[in-house]
């Protein structure tokens, strides 16, 4: 079991993602925008972060850059899940460990999560 934080403003996507990951045995927290996610991450130091790109107050890119700039949080793997900004995400391989395009496939997402968790020795 890993601890995962999801940053996603669209509640339908956030809900589906949370259910999918909880069923895979993880503990999930969701935040409606990047700034709220950053606050949760600072408190929890989760194993993995999944973020959308376009969100109010703080974009997924800004959130990821904030984490990479934080000595205590910079090692957390980050997955960008985006409809339109996949290319922007891929242009920043230094901040994102994986980029998935929306609409994504459940298997692909879970496999990506497992792969990244394995790399940090947290695989289920």
């Amino acid at each position: 079991m890993a601890s995962i934080v999801i940053a996603e403003d669209e509640f339908l996507i956030a809900d589906v993602l949370a259910i999918m990951l909880e069923e895979a045995g993880h503990e999930v927290s969701t935040a409606a925008h990047g700034r709220a996610a950053l606050a949760i991450i600072k408190g929890k130091a989760p194993d993995l972060v999944i973020t959308d790109f376009m969100m109010p107050l703080m974009t997924g890119l800004e959130l990821a850059q904030a984490l990479r700039g934080d000595a205590e949080l910079q090692q957390i793997p980050i997955i960008l899940v985006s409809g339109a900004q996949g290319a922007i995400g891929r242009a920043h391989p230094d901040v994102f460990d994986a980029v998935l395009d929306k609409p994504y496939n459940e298997k692909t997402l879970l496999a990506t999560v497992e792969r990244l968790l394995q790399q940090i020795g947290k695989a289920s």
Binding site: D9, E10, F11, L12, I13, A14, A32, H33, F53, M54, M55, P56, L57, T59, G83, A84, Q85, I88, K102, P103
Partner: protein, 487 residues
Amino acid sequence: MTHELPRLASGIRGLDTVLGGGLVEGACYIVQGQPGAGKTILSNQIAFATAADGRKVLYITLLAETHERLFQALDTLDFFDRSQLGVTISYVSVFQTLRDEGLSAVVSLIRQEIARQGATLLVFDGLLNARDRADTDLDVKTFVAEVQSQAAFAGCTVLFLTSTRVAEDNPEHTMVDGVIELHNEMVGVRAIRRLQVKKSRGSAALAGYHQFEITSTGFSVYPRIEAIPSLAAAGDGVTSEITSSGTPGLDDILGGGLPAHSVTLVFGPSGSGKTSLALNFLNAASAEAPALHFGFYETPARLLNKARALGLDLDRKVASGALEISWTPMTENMNDKLAHQLLDAVRARSVKRLVIDGLGGFERAAVHRPRLVEFFAALTNELRAMGVTAIATWEFRDLFGPTVSAPGSEISSLLDNLIMMRQVEINSRYKRTLSVLKMRDLAFEPIIHEVEFGSTGLAIASPLQAVSGAATGIATLSDGTSFPGKG
């Protein structure tokens, strides 16, 4: 002193005209209409036009539908540009913020986002959901007022989208600067889309309904032409110049030719020679006096074929650019769209010789027939003011008969000149005739003439032999003897 408010161009054809110059910068609008009326396409098209203009847009939704689904739908439209998403236009959802923290948290979030993005335009889709979340009307009023004042402070224009009809005495309605209502309704068997600017503070919008359509290029609004402040106000185009009709013999009967900058109605039954007369008129086109054939019946190929058969070389005129043939099939048309197409085509090539074949194409397209008089008045005034000499045709329903119906007495009186063409039965033979019934400012010959087809098209021959009843198509010899078989 009048003061012009700064405007934001909507990027939607015709909408800025209806709005009296575009959206007022920093103003707040409600865009309302039933689901499917086109609110989302309208607002997204404005958003992309604003972004293309180098400005930032914030698109906030309170809807359950995901943004990806919205993008998939918008992807079928030409204005949509994925590369702008998250760059110049940000789509964010505040549903969770509303659900978890309430309206005031949404207001705070919007305020921060406008500043963060440097947004010039804010679209807020889902005002209805905000109303559902509000405990009282006062809460909604406060919400709208707060968003409005914060946006105005930042110089940001706001569009609130809602699928409910916000009644005129609703607080939102009284507060906002403008209300744009979209309708999608049935008239007989056809669906009509129309737009109405119900409120427009600080600018003179064109009142009433204006038809619009949504195609792959997006939204196009066709302002009712009689509602548009006209060119014609600058001058009615009156001149003493004469334009040749192009038909041998006709200019003499007309009193010299067609008065320049006038509209002539050529009416008669099918087969009487109206189109041939029009082709002669077009054949006189030149680089200095370009011509346009705006028709509903024949395709350009058929029309050119007909001209060839008459010995007229219109192909050469088309090739040189002196003549344009524009054909609109008589299917489901919108008369304001047709009128704008016609006026645009005239403007684009500074057309001097115009044939409208025929006015019935406009009449058939009319959803609300009582306005046809005003419609034709605006159209013909505009054409005269643009210096166009026009021939319009009108087809009689009956080939022969005692009643001769011009297109409504009021419409006929809007036209400068009237020419009637008929097939007349005399002694078991048909003769084509032409008579001039009315000419503006010219002394014409009030004599029925015979029409013949010469080597280069239709020509006017000698006066018709003395008969009575020629105008009905069934003539009686004037010496009192009726022709065989009758009486």
